[in-house]
Symmetry: C2
Subunit: 466 residues, 2 copies
């Protein structure tokens, strides 16, 4: 299939939800599709008939009056063959399966059923996504696979072998300013697989950054070739599930994947120029650096924030991630001492400005340190940990965050802001608010220096390798 | 000083807050002490006179009418000598200094001032805490060093060279069911230092678990001897600040500490039998395992929860931390299949029970897997990540968590519960609620499998070494 043929699969004009149920406790994609505001026709299909969310239910795909581009199946595995045969007759282009119980499961004949399904689909000219997946999320098509996901598109594309991780990725990204071109949950990869999807994302002009969660390969050689091509064009972040023996076993039962050895994967991913991640948060951390930071000219970094222990820790964590913290020159020290009290602050790099009570002084300090010509990166951090409740009580967190964000942005260098302490509910909500303010300002937000430094390290490595 | 002499320092009957200010934007310990409900007399001292929070201000410590056990100083460094001289005259036993600007700072003569302070204090029979610290938190004495900390005592004692980290430790611990005997912020350690304080905590019958945040040693040989003695009596968790060169430099400016090389510290801590941690959250994670889990008889662990990708990740993370996940025997598989649908679930270890919609089935599955005679540990996890909003919308998270907690507790083996997704505000508040429910049930709560497994690994290592 060409790029545009594949692309049209992810922009359907009408959808059949086969197995749609009015039971709200049954994972209902009707509900999700309607909530997200899909503009085309949505046809629930169920032999029981009736209505779902005000839409007339048709007994089979064949009975639907208008054309159907995309069918989403949530019916038992054994019923899928007939549905796919109907889809072929109806001219459905793509069918995605929430349905599990195929090659991944312990059900006898599951693998054979998956093979048969593929045969019937090919006969009818229907492409398959899954089985055992969540379908796809494509904001441009106003189509979602989970509740309450952003309506706006963005430059991150993801192919994700786990449905749960797909949802988690969009949700985690959404809160941190990441928007997606498409997120494709592809489960068992019986037909559309990791290789073809990666080739699609590589060609896709809407996608500037690719994230992959993968358990095993269906077409190993093609995938690694595609990966090498992809990494030359855009950053590709890969989270490999099934690294340890127990994980390999779990992957086999999750998506029927032969997960392979971690050592082999590590080496192949490295050769292909991919960026490895180990959790979904890790994927978002790295994507955030690529999305909102220009390539830093060097590893030379200035760090400024509040808290003595936090400053020591910031220094340790930046250094461990390979960032370089050049010593603060006397000119800047002397300037800082004009408005920062000497007692209780640290005039090194990182700078500790704990003993500060004026917004103006915070802004001045950040700008002075950030503008320093010897550094090409700036990390600022808010020491909420010293007393989140005190800060919250006095409504100081938001104004302080505002000063930090403005000053950090004004410096104009690649930069990140860190704020921590997810302990009490008010502190937690306060941090989420700071995160939102950062999103709005286009400044990457991290909940720890360690996570910021690690993501920035990966950004630098990627650009350095090119 | 004997144990009981030291202990009496942390149970003062009356307090002088020297430099107390009515300015709410000035870090005011008066406010903290009064908020926490200290039952003894509290005397603000300030040459400006007047009142602070309804308490009459005295011009000097000498002018206070009653006896004073403890003086907390928040005055400029240069004023401290006179205050300590007055404290000696008044019979104050312990003086703690929020005041900075001594050996740690770039102020000329700071180190000499610290020496002079110590000389004057010794002359007057006053013990010093700090300077450049937060004092101490002792719930039994109804004395706090920060707002809104728990009133109840508990079995964890901490000595913490950073004031910020001290507060963060109590706050993070409080939310997760950890209560403290005392948390002593000791800053520059001019007088009371890491060695003497560790000896105190080792003898302290109220303290069953010790946490140390340390940047450098004042009495190295004595400290490592004390550490070896301490680890024989109780678990000692050590977070060493100032590991990398930039961190060593920051530590020197933070508490005047010579932080030393990370390799030397790692080896000395290992020899002494201490448990290393790398963040405050890490300290709490480990303390939580010691606090709420009996020593597991082996590393053989059962894991059960929801989410396919989460299950693969759980397997990888448990294995990476050295936990053993024995394969699930056919008897248990067959039992599970009686009530868990085969499609969409994983009948291995970890067990994935994603395709479950009944509370009873969740409880049955957890108990069946937890009671399995081949495992000595149980980790259950709630796959909130699949759709936190959906779960929140339907108010399902709390009832599901309740079922998980009850079933996990009923198994009776060392166990932990994991729930993740701190993304949206409702999900975040939901997770905090689950955490609170776990606290009430005495079940250790972790926000990721990786953190749970890593803490449990350290618990097992400690008991194994004995």
């Amino acid at each position: 299939m060409t790029y545009s043929e594949l692309d049209s699969l992810f922009h359907p004009r009408s959808i059949a939800v086969v197995g749609a149920s009015p039971d709200p406790y049954n994972m209902s994609f009707m509900d999700v599709i309607v909530e997200h505001g899909f503009p085309g026709n949505v046809y629930p299909v169920n032999h029981r008939g009736g209505e779902v969310l005000g839409h007339k239910v048709y007994p089979s795909v064949k009975d639907i009056p208008g054309p159907v581009d995309y069918a989403f199946l949530q019916v038992p595995a054994k019923a899928t063959i007939e549905v796919i045969r109907d889809c072929g007759v109806k001219g459905v282009k793509l069918a995605a399966f929430f349905t599990a119980g195929f090659g991944e499961s312990e059900i006898k004949g599951g693998s054979e059923l998956e093979q048969e399904l593929l045969r019937v689909a090919r006969q009818g000219g229907v492409r398959l996504l899954g089985p055992n997946c969540m379908g796809f999320y494509c904001p441009a098509a106003q189509l979602s696979f989970a509740y309450n996901l952003p309506q706006e598109s963005g430059p991150v594309g993801a192919l994700c072998q786990s449905g749960g991780h797909s949802g988690q990725l969009v949700r985690a990204g959404a809160q941190r300013g990441i928007r997606f071109s498409k997120v494709i949950s592809y489960g068992n990869a019986a037909d559309l697989n990791e290789a073809e999807l990666l080739e699609y994302f590589t060609e896709d002009p809407e996608t500037k950054i690719i994230i992959i969660y993968i358990e095993g390969v269906r077409e190993g050689v093609r995938f690694f070739q595609a990966l090498r091509t992809a990494t030359r064009a855009k950053p590709v972040i890969v989270f490999k599930g099934g690294r340890q023996e127990a994980g390999v076993q779990a992957a086999l039962s999750h998506t029927g994947s032969l997960a392979g050895s971690a050592e082999v994967w590590d080496s192949l991913l490295k050769q292909a120029g991919a960026i490895q991640a180990y959790t979904i948060d890790d994927c978002v951390d790295i994507a955030l650096a690529f999305r909102f930071m220009n390539p830093p000219r060097s590893r030379r970094t200035a760090v400024i924030g509040g808290g003595g222990g936090a400053t020591v820790q910031a220094a340790d964590e930046c250094s461990s991630a390979g960032l370089i913290l050049p010593p603060l020159p006397n000119e800047i020290k002397d300037e800082l001492k004009k408005f920062l009290p000497v007692a209780g602050n640290i005039f090194k790099n990182p700078v500790d400005m704990s003993g500060v009570h004026s917004f103006q002084t915070i802004a001045q300090s950040i700008k002075l340190v950030g503008d320093w010509s010897e550094v090409d990166l700036l990390i600022t951090h808010i020491g909420v940990e010293i007393g989140p409740d005190a800060m919250m009580k006095r409504n100081l967190l938001e104004p302080i965050a505002d000063v930090f964000i403005r000053a950090t942005k004004e410096v104009g260098k690649p930069a990140a802001l860190v704020a921590y302490a997810f302990y009490t509910a008010p502190a937690c909500l306060g941090i989420l608010k700071v995160q939102q303010m950062c999103c709005e300002a286009g400044l990457p937000f991290y909940p720890s220096i360690q996570r910021a430094a690690s993501a920035i390290d990966k950004l630098i490595r990627y650009h350095h390798a090119r």
